[in-house]
């Protein structure tokens, strides 16, 4: 047949990559010694301006070109990039009242076009992204920032409207990448969207753009003006987009056609053989910070309520009972979910709500231990009696749960694992899923934001400072029709005692005391089962790297390409 004939004629090559970089394996790291770095993103980058990004893929692809003042390091502390040093309270960069932050910039930094990088460029980024008509996806820091001004060519002063304990809100991480003023000056406001510069930004980063085919491939070449003369190691970089996660995993782990594959979250049953095979070419660094959790609905999702359905002023018929929530948490087999579905590359079983700082107090709590018999006893002792159909009920209220999530192999298996245990102790569980593109909207009736179900499962990451994550459990943030389901408190949890802890956390400036308050808030949520945490997943995403690649330090708080200039082979 055709295949056989053609293959017979083809010259068999040892590996398809062939590798121009192979010769440099033993050479010490030096600029441009490393040939091509091949990266695969199954979601292809579509734009290279991080302020107009449509997803992580775009932030990552732009990060090789444009950089922030500082990056979030693996330990959650800022690492100076364009800044000469990270401002702190100790070095006087952060004012005592926590309202102004003074950033000193590195001197002699040049854009890839040879022009000088100055404080004006940094100040311009404020004008650009905080103009409402620019509609930047990075505009969140604008709410709390009063101004960003260039004091002199190497000094930038950030002024917050109020004392801001999260004083790195402006300046650190992918969201704060600095674009060139000269290039984007005419692209502010309504002109920002179809500005041609979005597809070919000039940056200060280790690489500059060679060719960009949106939705397909990005090719980069070394930036000759990069401030560190010994970096980057790889002469060129290619980000190939498209396909699916499984294909990307094959390219990194089996054929070695790619050095780095982004977000290889595929069923463990498929991934594990690729990893454990003798010929496996990949490794997965683990840095966990994405909480896979079950959000509990405290409002009543009964369709009979019509417009009032799941509104914060309604009360859930049985999930408002702490005993029922405790029973659910106690019979949730977190270890099985973590080990069977995520494995080491994917995550670890987790019972806390916040990831940093990590509370140790919850280890001994009964709601964090898997004990089906104890869970059943909680229901039995509190008047939830099994009916003839095996479903427990009290005062005519039956424990029938609708449990929804997005379509994703691991999540559907999680649903099954939890359902099996919950049905053992007298719940009736109906599981549903809808595609990620509709589930993660505030418009779909089966979406996560409207939450017309009793329980729902999804994951999200957190900042190194836990305040904003904890704030999603305060009364004021409750999702409702009135705010177009655009708030962060999806479960409509509301407890004045918890709100009080958050209030004091926001007012506190001493770091040790802040950590204490954060842990107190965490423990409060866990004890009251405001949410059922399951797995602390790999962040930013489970990324696979070729075993030959060295110097990769993944940070759970920043882009997976934040340290690409340090990668060698």
């Amino acid at each position: 047949m055709l295949v056989a004939a053609a293959c017979g004629q083809a010259t068999p090559a040892p590996t398809p990559t062939g590798g121009a970089g192979a010769s440099a394996t033993t050479a010490p790291a030096a600029r441009g010694q490393g040939g091509e770095l091949k990266i695969i993103y199954w979601q292809a980058p579509t734009i290279l301006n991080p302020h107009q990004a449509g997803g992580t893929k775009d932030n990552d692809a732009s990060r090789l070109i444009v950089e922030p003042l500082a990056s979030w390091g693996p330990d959650g502390k800022p690492v100076a990039i364009l800044a000469a040093e990270v401002p702190t309270l100790a070095n006087g960069g952060v004012s005592k009242d926590l309202t102004t932050v003074t950033w000193k910039l590195k001197t002699g930094v040049k854009w890839s076009d040879g022009s000088a990088f100055t404080a004006d460029d940094v100040a311009f980024m404020f004008t650009y992204r905080c103009n409402a008509d620019t509609a930047a996806t990075t505009a969140s820091a604008c709410k709390s920032t009063a101004s960003v001004t260039a004091k002199d060519p190497n000094t930038v002063v950030v002024t917050y409207k109020q004392p801001n304990a999260n004083f790195y809100e402006w300046g650190v991480g992918t969201q704060d990448s600095i674009i060139q003023k000269a290039q984007f000056n005419d692209c502010v406001g309504a002109k920002a969207k179809d500005c041609p510069a979005n597809l070919k930004p000039i940056g200060t980063g280790p690489y500059k753009l060679v060719e960009f085919k949106p939705g397909d491939v990005v090719s980069y070449a070394m930036n000759d003006n990069f401030r560190d003369p010994s970096k980057p190691f790889f002469k060129t970089v290619t980000i190939k987009g498209g396909g699916d996660a499984e294909g990307a995993a094959r390219a990194v782990c089996q054929t070695g056609e790619a050095d780095y594959g982004w977000n290889l979250q595929i069923p463990l049953a498929v991934l594990q053989p690729m990893l454990s095979a003798a010929a496996s070419k990949c490794q997965f660094p683990s840095s966990y910070n994405a909480l896979e959790r079950i959000t509990v609905n405290f409002a009543n999702p009964d369709p009979a309520l019509g417009e009032k359905r799941s509104e914060p002023d309604t009360k859930h018929p049985f999930l408002s009972d702490l005993n029922v929530r405790r029973a659910l948490a106690m019979s949730a087999n977190r270890a099985a979910v973590a080990e069977q579905l995520y494995g080491k590359p994917g995550g670890e079983a987790y019972c806390n709500v916040i990831v940093f700082p990590r509370s140790k107090n919850t280890d001994s709590l009964d709601v964090c231990k898997y004990d089906v018999a104890a869970a059943e006893k909680v229901l039995q002792d509190n008047g939830w009696v099994k009916g003839t159909d095996g479903v427990r009920a009290k005062d005519g209220v039956k424990l029938v749960i609708n449990y929804q999530t997005s379509t994703n192999a691991a999540r559907q298996k999680t649903q099954e694992i939890l359902k099996a245990d919950w049905e053992k102790i007298g719940f009736k569980v109906n599981i549903t899923n809808s595609s990620a593109t509709t589930f993660f909207t505030n418009t779909a009736p089966d979406g996560y934001a409207k939450f017309y179900a009793d329980l729902e499962e999804f994951a999200s990451s957190q900042d190194p400072d836990p305040t904003s994550f904890l704030e999603q459990y305060i009364c004021e943030e409750a999702n409702a029709k009135a705010n177009n389901w655009n708030k962060n408190n999806i479960g409509r949890y509301c407890d004045p005692a918890f709100d009080a802890i958050i209030k004091s956390l926001k007012a506190e400036t001493d770091q040790a005391k802040r950590d204490q308050l954060a842990i107190q808030a965490n423990d409060y949520l866990v004890k009251n089962v405001a949410v059922i945490s399951l797995v602390n997943r790999t962040a930013p995403t489970p990324n696979g790297f070729s075993k030959g690649l060295k110097g990769v330090k993944q940070s759970p708080f920043d882009s997976s390409l934040w340290d690409v200039m340090d990668w060698t082979k």
Partner: protein, 319 residues
Amino acid sequence: MGRFIARRLLIAIPTLIAISFVMYAILALAPIDPLAQFALDPRVPPEVRENVKRSLGLDQPWPIRYVKWLTSVAQGNFGISFMTHAPVADLIWQRLPNTLAVVGIAYVIGLFIALPAGIISAIRRNSIVDHVISSFAYIGFSVPTFFTGILLIIIFSIKLGWFTFLYDSRLQVRDFETLVAQIKQSIMPITVLALFDAAVLTRYVRASMLENLPLDYVRTAHAKGLGERFVVLGHVLRNSLIPVVTLVALGVPAVFGGAIVTEQIFHVPGIGELLVTSIGTGDTPVVAAVVLLFAVLVVAFNLIADILYAVLDPRIKYA
């Protein structure tokens, strides 16, 4: 004939408008959010996402968006993609060569396999050769392309390491070396698609030949003392090809539409891949343009098929 074509072209306009309306309505009513990827990113809060959606014009009611879109399409402007903020036409042009280089070539190869296979199968009816060809044809169109695709990847990329399954659209064929590289990166998707196309077309060629073989004019030709080869190729094949040619013409729009599954598996950045990712990200302008393009091609090639039919078969006349 001229009047027939003119009438058909006029009918095509309302047809296309109806298609575009239904398609746009479905897209607009589907609760897909172009920023769903950021839904749970704490750094992209809901009010920021709302503002971006407003800037994309998504706060307007969809019938208004449809009328605006239709007006600009009528002027040849397909709009700006939500994701890349670049003209949609550019994205389509960028991908068309990849689709034609893989799906188009596969279709031609499929046709060249199907013709001899179908003819031999028909004239040697019920022989071993016929059974072998028919079996392959059945397997070809009953085994899905996502299966054969993965199978080829496992054998030729992973086990043998001969071919890449990451299609590089930047490769330009300039000399022998780049030609070899192009063959190496496209041979697997082409094989998968060509086998499928060949399987379908073989069945048609065979059936059509079998219909013609027992007819009177064939007996007459034999009686005249014409050679077997001339009877089959000169008479039977010519007449048998009439339905096949129209079928081939009707299949051409599918070539431009790309092969969604195969393109995805082999990372070919073609039209099909563009369509799928755009649906996933709620990039309405791109989806609308690709679907409309597809509709135009279907209408056009239907007309071409009808015209070809009249040209090939003198018994058919359009008034």
